[in-house]
Structures are given as C-alpha cells and as structure tokens.
Symmetry: C2
Subunit: 515 residues, 2 copies
C-alpha cells in the first residue's frame, strides 16, 4: 500500500568545496536515494529548505538532517521540509478523511503509517442554516455581491471549510498533534457538496440537462482551499459521475469491494438521499431517490444523527416497556435511524400499531396523546408519533420500490443478490432483520446483509491510505451507469403497495409473516 503522503528522514552529506550541490538539489538527491524522483517542489518548501538544513543558527550549526514530506500521487512532490529527524508520532504522516454530507460532516484523522484512525468527530453541516436542502443551497448561490461576485456560493463554501477546520482542530488536539502535522486530506461528498466545497457554480446540477461544472476535480493544495492543515498538503476531492452520483457513492462502492466481485451486490446508502447501486466487477448501475431525511434525524420529532446521546437499538419488552442502548456514556437525547427502524418494527410486532402505522388505542398507557397526535413514549422526552411513523413508512416504501424497480429494469431478482451492503451514518448500528420486518429491505437470507457504516468516510480513508484506491474509484466512475427512476404510474402503484407493514403483498416477505 502506497499512502498519499509519506515522511522521509534524510541524513545528507555536508556541503563542501568538493560537493557544491545546492540545498534543493541536495534534498532531491537524498530522496532519489530513497527511490523517489521528485521534480516539483512548491515555492514555500524551497523557501524553508536552507533553514531546515542548518536549523539552529545557520552561521554555525550545519547538520544537514531533514525530514521531508512527500506527496506520492502522480509525480512525487516535496511538500514540506522540517529540520532534523522525528521520533514517534512526529515521524508519522497524518491524513484527514472527510465525509462531507448534506446534513452532517464527519472527519477522521488517519495515521498513514499504521492505517489506523486516531480519532473521529462529526458535526452538523453549517450550510443547513443557510439552505436546508440541496436545492435551497443551489439557489442561494444565485446571490451575487454588488460587484457581481458569487457571494452566496462563497458563503456556503466558507461554511463547509470552517466546519472542517473546527473538527480537524479538535481532532488534532485530542490526538496530541497539530493541524499542521496533517499532510493530506480526502473529501468525499455528493456532487453538489463537492462543488460548494471547491467554490464551483452548482447551478447547472439542478437545471436540464443536469450537467455539473466538473466530474473529475483532481487534487488541490490545502492553502488554496482554506483548510488549515499543512499549507501545501494535497487535498483530493473524490470525483463524481454526474449530478446524481457523487464521490460519496463511489467511495461507498470502493469500501464495499463490490466492484471487485464476480457475484452481484446491492449497496444502499441512506443519507439525506438514498442511493442504490447494483452490480459487480463488470457493470454497475446506480439510481437515487429522495429518501428524505427521516432516517437522519431531520424530520422525525425525536430523531437525531448517530452521535453520543442517540438511542441506536431499541426493543419493546413485557408490558410494552422499552429497553434500549445509547451511543456514548450519556443519557438518551433522541433516536438515530437504526433505532427508528427498530421501534417501527417492534411497535408492529407487539401489535401497538397496525399495518398502516396507526396506533391501536388502549393497549398501553405508553401510547399517549401529544400535540402532534398519538405517540409511543420511549422516555419522558423522547416520543415516536403517528406522523413520524408515516414519514418512516414513506421512506421505507420509497426505498423498497426503488430496489424493486432497479432490479427489474436490470432483469434480476432479489434472489440473484450475493451481498447486500447497507451504508449510511447509522449504517453500523442498523439491524437488517428489523429493516426487513418493516419491508424496507427485501426478504433475503439475513447473512447476505453486510453493515458498512459510514462508507463515504471509509472510502475517503482508503483513498488516503493507498494510491490504488484513487485509481479504483476512477475505474468505478468510468464503469458506472446512472438510471433515472421516473415517478411513472407503475412506480407510483408499486410505491402505494409498499406503504404497508411490511407490504400489501405478503408473499414478498415470507419470513416476516412467519415470525
């Protein structure tokens, strides 16, 4: 595995009358002995060179020992030179992986030597305060300054960059390093998020014929993007395939490994939108649907993202009393997507709701009336209302319908699926059997389901750890085909049929009806 960036300790021969090699060429010669043919060196690194070679006092000290940080993507680039050699953490190159979601941003600092994460943190994407959803943000970009500059776009760009800087700063602090020690970054987001992060006009993403400004962005330097990591650190923004299939999806495909398998896999990524990818090493088909943020905590009254304080698993026991687990060692504050799926499944299993998601009155005093109508009371402050259930049933019906339509269009059935990957920020907590029992996921053998967790972040981590991953993502991008799932009459009729727990057609969910 070749990471994006690596540090090299160089013990160089001293300059002398016999060896008048200049400082820059001396360092490059040292790297050549390490097998690296570097020919690009940014100005800031050249400027630091002479001092780094003679660090303490250039009039006397002259030790010619430096630590060089080299970006290994494409033709190697020397991005930093520091005086002396380092031990422990300082001898390590660190990378920042970013899942830049529409609603949430998740950052992880990765030790590029060991491949291990040294910390992970998430936060709300502050762009939500400017525009709740993607369309609102794209329209916000029409706002121009008096001088005709794209002020709205810049506002959104800075919001994302600042949020990443804050998360990176806290992560670095907790890991006992400086943000300046982070030598590279990889940003994984959907097409609009990538455009906003780079300051590219997203207008044509949502306007026919739906052509983004760019699909392949390449690599930039941290300082030109405003990221406060090492100024010359390469920042890779994962490519997208068009307006609807972004780098986050490609990262997920990479993380699943489905594009290297012979058998057919499905990958479902439930974020603010739900993306479905079907395929194998030879072909990949993607489609997207507005899953709605029901599972991300944005719509459901007590919903929240999978973070400390979120109930992640929940079960209704004797006397309809709930038992649950909470992420982190804190009191429960809300429920994340996996708990919502659990709870819907449990309410149905225990007969507290009917197939349409209506509470059956009088069964237990845990079902109360709130200002939003009937609700199941998990705790004093956490309730699950009929309205929430309705939202969730819409989401699960949309998901199941999309899965039905896309497999039918490809000409396969759910039985042809070898592996079924479930991704999303709450994807590591989800119980596949519960998702099947509410008719969200198809009724296939439970061991075929694989929980990926945040596959967008995982893909970004892989891209930092191995240059081959970036190549693989580009191969995936060139293989993938996007299929538009039109809201046709047939789709609508399938969708209506799926608006029932688990489904109006019992034969589709034999195991659910059996239990």
């Amino acid at each position: 595995m070749t990471p994006l960036v690596k540090k090299y300790f160089l013990k160089l021969p001293h300059a002398s009358d016999e060896d008048k090699t200049p400082d820059l060429e001396r360092v490059l010669d040292g790297l050549r002995r390490e097998g690296l043919d570097v020919d690009t060196v940014p100005l800031s690194a050249i400027r630091k060179l002479s001092r780094a070679l003679r660090p303490v006092d250039q009039l006397r000290d002259n030790d010619f020992e430096v630590t060089a940080t080299v970006c290994l993507a494409g033709r190697p680039e020397l991005i930093d030179v520091e005086p002396g050699g380092f031990a422990g953490r300082r001898s390590t190159a660190f990378g920042l992986a970013v899942d830049l979601g529409t609603t949430n941003i998740v950052c992880s600092i990765v030790d590029l030597n060991s491949g291990k994460s040294v910390g992970e943190l998430s936060g709300t994407n502050p762009q939500t305060a400017i525009g709740e959803d993607i369309l609102a943000r794209i329209h916000h970009c029409l706002k121009l300054s008096e001088a005709g500059q794209p002020a709205g776009l810049e506002e959104l760009r800075l919001a994302a960059v600042d949020a990443i800087n804050v998360l990176a700063e806290r992560l670095a602090h907790d890991a006992g390093i400086s943000v300046g020690d982070i030598s590279c970054a990889c940003i994984s987001g959907n097409t609009t998020m990538a455009h906003l992060f780079l300051g590219l006009d997203p207008y044509n993403i949502c306007r026919a014929p739906y052509v983004p400004a760019a699909n392949r962005f390449g690599s930039f330097r941290a300082k030109e993007l405003g990221l406060n990591i090492k100024p010359e650190a390469p920042v890779v923004v994962l490519p997208n395939v068009g307006s609807y299939v972004g780098g986050d999806v490609l990262a997920g495909i990479l993380a699943s490994g489905m594009a290297e398998r012979d058998g057919i896999s499905i990958l479902v990524d439930v974020g603010t939108n739900a993306e479905i990818i079907v395929g194998n090493r030879d072909w990949l088909v993607a489609c997207a649907g507005a899953a709605g943020p029901a599972l991300e905590g944005g719509v459901v009254s007590s919903g929240m993202r999978a973070a400390p304080g979120a109930i992640d698993r929940i079960r209704i026991g004797e006397n309809y009393e709930p038992s649950f687990s909470v992420i982190g060692d804190v009191p429960p504050y809300g429920m994340c997507g996996s708990a919502l799926i659990d709870l819907l499944s449990e309410l149905f299993r225990t007969g507290l709701i009917d197939g349409r998601g209506r509470f059956i009155p009088g069964r237990t005093e845990r079902v109360v009336n709130t200002e939003w109508g009937a609700a199941y009371k998990v705790t004093e402050n956490i309730v699950f209302t009929e309205k929430d259930i309705e939202n969730l049933i819409r989401t699960k019906a949309a998901m199941y319908t999309a899965l039905t339509v896309i497999t039918a269009e490809i000409g396969i059935t759910f039985n042809d699926i070898e592996s079924f990957f479930v991704a999303g920020t709450f994807g590591e907590y989800i119980a596949a059997d519960k998702a099947v029992s509410i008719g969200m996921l198809p009724d296939i053998p439970i061991n075929k389901f694989k929980l990926l967790g945040n596959s967008s972040l995982k893909g970004a981590v892989l891209a930092l750890l191995d240059l081959k991953s970036i190549e693989q993502i580009e191969n995936i991008a060139s293989t993938i085909t996007y299929k538009e799932l039109n809201a046709s009459a047939e789709f609508m009729s399938l969708y209506r049929a799926a608006m029932f727990l688990p489904h109006t057609d019992a034969s589709l969910f034999p195991s659910a009806y059996k239990s």
Copy 2:
C-alpha cells in the same frame, strides 16, 4: 517553435440530454481535438469555466464558445478560460521577459504569436536603495522581524517584484493591453537576483563553500510571486550553475548561439559584474570578475545606463570638439558605457590624455578643472574626469586580464577565437574597434566581434518563444564549468601591465599602434 503559452479558440458542442459532459471535461475534450492532452487545471480556472461557457446570463445564453489559455511547458495546463472568441491583439498570448539586473531591470512584452516585442522599458533596480551591491543585499537579508521572519529578504523581494509590476503595467498600457493579458513571464538574473526575487535565503551564496539554495527553480505561478500579470501565468526563473554563473549568463550563451557551434567563441557580458564564457558545442568555461559598475553608469560622474538621454556614441573632431548621438529624441543627460569607451579611445587618439589616462595640460579649453579634478567637457553639464578615466582603465584592465588568464588556462590563444560576442545593456551600442583601441578587448579581426545587446533579456525572450530554448538552457547549465580566477601574483602582474592605454606590451595591440 512552441511558445510557453498559447491561446486556443474553442467552439464546443452544447450540453444536452445526449451529451452530459461536464463543463470542465467539455473544454478539455475541445483542447484534445487541438492535440492537447491537458490534465492539470488550477482551481481558479475551473471556477471560471461554467460562467465562461454561458457568459452573458447563464439562465438564457448558452453559446459554449471560449478562449482557452494553455501553458505548453511539460504537461499542458489550462491556465485561463475566457468567454467567447477574440480578434486582433486579444487573440494573442503575450509574455513578459525580464532582465533582472543588480543595477537595472529591463522588461519587454513579447507577442508570442509573431515573436515580436511590443515594447521595452527599463528602470533602476530599487534594491540598490536598500543595498548598493550584491554583498550589501545579502547581508540585508540577515535582518529578521521580531517574530524571526526574514524581513530583510522580504523587503528586497518586494522591491524587485514591485519594480517589475510597474514596468509591466506601463508597457501593457502603452501596448493597449491589460497586464492581465500577459500570460507568462521569464526572469533572467544572476544567482543572487534570482534568490531575492523568489524569496530564497541568499546567505550561502557568499559564504564558503558558496552553495546557493537552489540551481534549478522551475516554474511558479504569477500570483504566488506577487506579479500582477494573469494570476495563473507560469513564471519561469532561469536556472543558475552556482553562486557565480547565473541565469542571465546562460541566457546570454543561448542568445549568442555559441553552444551550438563547432568553432570556439568568447562571450563577454559587461554588467555590474563582467562574465566571460569561452567554449563551443562540446565544452563551456565561465569565469567572472568584479568589473565594477563603471560601464553601467553607477560610478562614472556623468555615466548613466543606456536609456533615452544617454549619449551612446561620441567622436572628437576638429578643435577637439565632440560630436555625438543620443538615445531617443531628447537632449543629452549623460553617457552610457559605449560612449565612455568611445570617449576614452578618442581622448587617447587625439592626444588629450597619455597612456596612463592623465590629461596633457593646455591642449584645448575643453579640458577644464572641476571639483573632481581635470575633466573633458562634452556639454555644459556632462564631463569626463581623470577619476572617471582611472575607473574605466581599471575596468578595461580587469577585463583584458581575465580574458588573458582564462584563455591561457584553457590552452588557447585569441587567434583560436572564431566569434567574440559582446553583451551588456549598452552592448548594442558599443564600438568594438574603440574597445580594442583602449585595450579592453583583444586585438583580433574586427569582423569577429558580434554585438549582442542585452543578451540576458534576449535569452529570456527566446525562453518565452520556444520551449526548446528552456531545454537548451538546461543543457548549457549542465555543460558549463566554472573557473575561479584567483587574484594570484601572476594575475596582479598581468593586471598592472594592462593598466595602460592600450597596453604596456605594444605587440599585443598591433592594429591599435598602427592606427
């Protein structure tokens, strides 16, 4: 000839449901049809792309015609995209050639399509106000800010950058273009000047073992250097060979063509220092001596650089009356190097001075006494004193001695020289026969002398006009050997013998003594 930068007008297919190629890839496809495989595009150019494709109002207009500016060095880079196509000058890429001298800065804007200069301007290097000579400037770089930052270096760097910006702005204005239309630049200077321009610590240039920070700088972007031309314009800083042989000398060798010839040539570049290069296509030897700024206008009382108002040629006629020509259509203000050489030769020829450079009293009332001693009065305000003559004799003696020593060390005589190139800012005005008559240049057939003018600037122009030139300069850099001319006893004795007009050894200057 492939210039450093070229403009391409692209008429691109419109985006449609059948052709969803993103804006960036659409432009790159258009360039591919022109035979250009561009894979690097800076962020600023990507940001401009979408607007350039749909310029007037992106809600309606959609013409997909752009003019792309591409840097052709190495792997082609798209450095700018402008809406529509251009006619006339705006369809042309312009380059800025800069001779960054210790005392003077000369800039020229070059039309990269026709290869012609559209204007040339020179000015004093404002660094002279901070440190008169190179050593003073290198020591100024030891000045640190309170925060330990290299404040002196930054001060010198900005002085040079600002001066170039001012000259470029005036040149662009006179040429009827904007500085933003200048798409590339080439900087030719000695090793210290290149270091100061780039903000590289020059300290080790003047400290044993005399190792610069770098010999090969490569190419940078205008905006990172502070040049106000097109922000992403490539700026090539010509390489040097060590502390004493700079890019200006390599540019001169390129401009002379001596490194492509079988016969042996000598190139003498008289600037603040005098550099001598001897060689042919197989070998090149360089040496440098402190010629002193006598010929550049810095030391001689009425001296000035070759600019409007400078007397460039001068002759003493009947009754010791001078006749002269002036650069530009302006009254004379001073004398440039070529006039000084002429005048010294004429004073000697007409018997107004003796072989030691002393005025012979009473010959003409044009010889007057000034506060600096005896002087020849060219005009009311322009005089040439005994002190000036002494300085000039030192310069010419140093030059002739260096030529004698270097050819002897190589093992050739002046008779082996096929071409003798004379370069320097005043080098296009110099009269070789006069320089021979004062014993500055060797007494070889006069048709062997070739006047190059400002060969540093000429080399920079060539580097802008043809990528092969940059390769050639790098070949020259790797061929050249530097010889230290030690101030040995032998050198000093030769020098003293040359402190006479034309020389104490008459046999060395048969034609001078003949005339």
